[in-house]
């Protein structure tokens, strides 16, 4: 952080002189860059940002976040050409070191969990029935189950759950041969017979 302060001080001290412009063009030079870019897309303290279609990270389980970052980095996720949001995420993760991933996971762990606002409206009763299949892994309250590798769904942005379920159903996510858990989801998502069923189940998750 010291470096950053120096850079800022430098520019601020160079007041009003046209001759000093060349130096100021280089403000970026001394600025330390780290891998903590997450909030630019995922919102302040990872609250999620619908305009970027970047989901809530606050409250996401450390083990799940780590696995997804590693999957993105390895190209196991975010490489299918129809996975638009995944493709956007992948380059962010591609250059992360193990240390950076650990740092990010720690950092995200500091953020306060705030359940996301509901935006999807479907048939909750139908969704409840459909959710029984999901509950086996994700828990009756969609609270997640680390032992089964199934993340919490409750409190996540519903628009994100919708996109991911659609992607699993279409095979845009989970088709990579090394994506063990994803391929399970490809199978399980097909118990949802159509898009309305997807909307319904997400609507039910919103009530949990």
């Amino acid at each position: 952080m010291k470096k950053i302060v120096t850079a800022t001080t430098l520019i601020l001290s160079a007041v009003c002189s046209m001759a000093s412009l060349a130096a100021e063009g280089d403000v970026g030079v001394a600025a330390a860059m780290d891998d903590r870019y997450c909030t630019t897309c995922h919102g302040v303290e990872g609250i999620g940002n619908i305009a970027i279609e970047a989901p809530r990270l606050a409250g996401m389980e450390a083990w799940y976040l780590k696995r997804q970052l590693e999957n993105f980095r390895a190209g196991i996720r975010g490489t299918h050409e129809e996975d638009v949001q995944g493709i956007a995420m992948r380059p962010m993760a591609a250059k992360l070191s193990d240390e950076s991933i650990a740092d990010i996971v720690d950092w995200v762990g500091d953020w306060e969990y705030v359940p996301a606002e509901a935006t999807v409206e479907g048939n909750v009763r139908q969704g409840r029935t459909a959710f029984q299949a999901c509950a086996a892994c994700h828990g009756a309250n969609a609270q997640g189950n680390e032992a089964l590798g199934a993340p919490a769904l409750a409190g996540q942005n519903d628009w994100y759950l919708l996109t991911q379920l659609r992607n699993f159903r279409a095979g845009f996510r989970g088709s990579h041969q090394e994506d063990t858990f994803g391929s399970q989801m490809v199978t399980m998502s097909k118990t949802l017979t159509d898009d309305q069923a997807v909307i319904d189940v997400v609507s039910y998750i919103n009530t949990l």
Binding site: I4, I11, C16, E24, G25, G28, G43
Partner: protein, 524 residues
């Protein structure tokens, strides 16, 4: 060429574009200059030390801060990035491109001529407010050559993929259009809307416009340059590229309208000497320590008597309490920042889409384009790179920075690796200049969709090509009204003509005028 498109076909074409009467009616608007041709006179009531929080340091924010500071307001600017300017960004030796997942540091020669305007790059003469500030802040300007007739037009489908000179393309196209229109003029349908004398005038104009021969046919023109001779010997006309061939170029529209200044493009444009960010630093230097860098906003709460803005700096969260707030943070980033805006305001903010734009540039080992008689202007390539720009400044210098791609649409550069982006620009560029690959040093690329603290280029409002819907107009008006008379959204996102500095500045002026009115109305 002999009658490559029949007269009937041509009339059908004309009909498709609205016909003659539509063209004539368009003339009604002639004589009026766009409203932006007048620079605004800003006369804020001298103040009082009221506190103003300004979020972001794009040109709308800097304009606001500058005007308010001059009037005695106490301004603080919060900038998330390490640099001011937003999409007014110049890359030169040492500059960091903070693209997420594609961090780059520019290692071009340290030379004031070697820079790349990665965002805003051109100033039209009708953008009076940009020019006004350049004058006021003593930013030296120079001419930017936007069109060079000796630059190239390249399309794999045209002329066997070999580039043709812009002048070959445009002179011939002008010739063919004139020839066809003069033939069509005899047709009663077209003729009926013109008097005999008008027809004669038009025919005379067409002959000159298209450089037609006595039989009103286009057989080539010396406007395209000579095939040989022209100085010691008589010049000879070049072979004409057949109309059918020219029509294979699918970017012809761009080639033909580069010089239409009304929309901001024109043959004569301007640029600051040394880079577009000269304007930014001219403001920033004068504002001094009012700007806090690396201070991302984490919350915006509008209160009855002001605005509270939380931001983070050096790992500590601070709260800035202000009487007023001017916000140029991109709308799509505001969606991820806690706030208490009214629902309709948030809905409108979330509605605006972030534009995708991509640019690339490299340092050229030699000014190879000058050996091809090119001194500025644009080469049009029918590939995702779309354009190649040649620097109009430092003519005959040693090196120069070539803009090697400018795509503002849906190409997938954002998702490409740096290596693939570079290969793409070289691959297409060398179709135009055989030695391109050898000349290109250290290419830099910028995908605005993934720039840290920006995540987008020019905001997009209208979802339909037909124009703005009533709902969109309504949301736009919602965002133009300050929240609780305290929070103003500024920037080109708050205008109906995004992507121009002039728009951003005018959005600031619009908001300032509103503020001034409110402050004047307050009891003394």
């Amino acid at each position: 060429m002999t009658n490559p498109v029949s007269r009937r076909e041509f009339l059908n074409l004309l009909g498709a574009y609205g016909g003659t009467s539509a063209v004539l009616q368009a003339g009604v608007a002639l004589g009026f200059m766009p409203s932006s041709s007048q620079a605004a006179e800003i006369a804020l009531q001298a103040n009082n030390g009221k506190k103003v929080a300004i979020l972001g340091t794009g040109i709308s924010a800097l304009t606001t801060a500058w005007e308010l500071t001059k009037a005695g307001y106490d301004c603080t600017l919060l900038e998330a990035s390490h640099r001011p300017g937003g999409r007014m960004f110049t890359v030169r030796s040492g500059t960091v491109i903070d693209e997420i997942g594609n961090y780059q540091r520019c290692e071009w020669d340290n030379d004031p001529h070697l820079y790349f305007n990665a965002g805003a790059a051109r100033i039209p003469s009708i953008h009076s407010n940009v020019l006004k500030y350049c004058k006021e802040l003593e930013v030296e300007l120079q001419v930017f050559v936007n069109e060079s007739k000796t630059a190239w037009v390249q399309d794999d489908a045209m002329n066997g993929g070999k580039p043709v000179r812009n002048t070959d393309y445009s002179s011939s196209m002008q010739g063919f259009i004139s020839e066809m229109l003069s033939k069509a003029l005899g047709d009663s349908k077209l003729d009926s809307s013109l008097t005999e004398s008008e027809s004669e005038t038009l025919l005379g104009m067409l002959r000159r416009f298209g450089d037609l021969n006595e039989d009103m046919l286009y057989k080539g023109s010396t406007r395209a340059g000579y095939g040989s001779g022209g100085f010691l010997d008589h010049g000879t006309t070049k072979d004409v590229v057949a109309l059918r061939d020219l029509l294979k170029a699918r970017n012809g529209g761009s080639v033909m309208v580069t010089t239409q200044e009304g929309t901001g493009s024109g043959p004569l444009l301007m640029q600051p000497v040394g880079g577009m960010d000269r304007i930014i630093y001219a403001f920033a230097n004068r504002l001094g320590d009012r700007i806090k860098f690396r201070a991302p906003v984490t919350e915006v709460m509008v209160k009855d008597d002001g605005v509270e803005v939380a931001y983070e700096q050096n790992g500590v969260t601070e709260v800035l309490k202000a009487d007023y707030c001017f916000n140029c943070i991109p709308s799509h980033l505001m969606s991820g920042i806690p706030n208490n805006f009214p629902d309709d305001y948030s809905e409108a903010l979330n509605y605006i889409r972030r534009g995708r734009a991509y640019k690339a540039a490299f340092q050229a080992k030699e000014r190879f384009w000058e050996k091809e008689n090119i001194y500025g202007g644009i080469t049009w390539v029918n590939a995702p790179i779309q354009q190649i720009w040649y620097p109009p400044h430092n003519i005959h210098g040693k090196k120069g920075v070539v803009l090697a791609a400018y795509n503002f649409g849906g190409a997938n550069y954002t998702e490409m690796s740096q290596q693939d982006r570079i290969e793409d620009l070289l691959k297409h560029g060398e179709k135009v200049h055989p030695n391109y690959r050898e000349m290109a040093q250290k290419p830099m690329t910028i995908a605005w969709h993934r720039m840290n603290h920006m995540l987008g280029c020019a905001p997009r409002w209208a979802r339909n090509r037909g124009g703005w819907s009533d709902k969109e107009e309504q949301m736009y008006e919602t965002l133009r009204q300050p929240v609780n008379g305290r929070h103003y959204l500024i920037g080109d996102q708050s205008t109906q003509h995004s992507a121009w500095m002039e728009s951003a500045i005018q959005s600031a002026h619009y908001a300032l005028a509103d503020l001034d009115q409110r402050v004047r109305a307050e009891p003394a």
